[in-house]
């Protein structure tokens, strides 16, 4: 929860800065700087993913079936998001882009702001932060009332980092390992899926 408050504080600080000094930022310069900073971040994330390849070997015992978990989460998220376009004044492409963040608010909001619009980037940020918040509440509930594996779903891409401790606490070690791999696969998908959806 401390993490979430820090995140919201950072965005609010940025909003205040942009509001008081709108002339401070030249959109083109900001764009270019953000692209490089984003590349640096993904380079770091890539190192973690590559390094964690060693973890993947450990759960070989669960077998290929493990990919069903992130596939179901990705498919379900996109399906759910596509229903949203019936209620909102947004195109199918827009709701899918927001849903394709799978809870990874920092990447999805920046990518969508860069490649599409600041407005959709803001929606993506809010939606994916909300998804992470919902995950914190839903994971214990689903783990107790429905099933350990199902409890992995709301976390989306965050089950390899921020929501993993809660999954580990509420379920067991095999489920936590499945959650980690699922989060890893979904995290790897996001930077490919968002530009792909934009290209369609």
């Amino acid at each position: 929860m401390k993490m979430i408050s820090c995140i919201v504080a950072a965005v609010l600080a940025g909003i205040a800065l942009g509001w008081t000094l709108p002339s401070l930022m030249n959109p083109e310069v900001l764009d270019r700087v953000v692209t490089y900073v984003l590349s640096a971040m993904l380079f770091g994330v890539g190192i973690s993913i590559g390094y964690n390849r060693r973890e993947l070997v450990k759960i070989k015992a669960v077998g290929w079936r493990i990919v069903i978990v992130p596939a179901a989460i990705a498919g379900g998220s996109l399906l759910g998001a596509s229903i949203a376009c019936m209620f909102l004044n947004m195109s199918l492409k827009e709701v899918l882009l927001v849903g394709a963040g799978f809870g990874w608010y920092s990447l999805s909001s920046v990518l969508i702001t860069q490649l599409y619009s600041a407005e959709l980037g803001a929606i993506a940020f809010l939606a994916n932060v909300l998804r992470e918040l919902m995950a914190f509440v839903l994971i214990p509930f689903l783990a107790i009332h429905i099933g350990k594996i199902v409890a992995i779903a709301p976390g989306g891409a965050t089950t390899m980092d921020s929501t993993l401790p809660i999954i580990a606490k509420m379920t067991d070690t095999p489920t936590a390992m499945i959650a980690f791999v699922s989060g890893l696969i979904l995290t790897t998908m996001v930077p490919f899926l968002i530009p792909l959806l934009l290209a369609i």
Partner: protein
């Protein structure tokens, strides 16, 4: 934007190689978190300097809530359905038994 994907892949290769030690990975998480905060401030600046966007923040929040809620419910339902069809735990226990 290609640079973003290239960076991710280059990072993956570097991480998968044996150059990086475990000590570095600990620092890496902190560095990535620091960069995330810089990006979040940049996203905030993008929102804050756009007066039209600020005026619509309630509407954007409502849209975000609907999409987040539906995509979360969707992922839970589809995974629930998948779990009913494929029994991960039974499979896992069988594997454990073999080990």
């Amino acid at each position: 934007m290609e640079i973003v994907i290239i960076s991710l892949l280059a990072g993956c290769l570097l991480g998968a190689s044996n150059i990086i030690s475990e000590k570095w990975i600990g620092h890496l998480d902190q560095i990535v978190m620091a960069i995330v905060f810089v990006l979040l401030i940049a996203v905030g600046i993008g929102i804050g300097s756009n007066r039209e966007l600020i005026g619509n923040l309630t509407l954007l929040g409502y849209k975000a809530l609907v999409i987040a809620g539906l995509s979360t419910i969707g992922s839970v339902l589809v995974l629930w359905f998948a779990v009913l069809k494929v029994d991960f735990f039974q499979h896992h226990k069988k594997e454990e038994g073999q080990v």
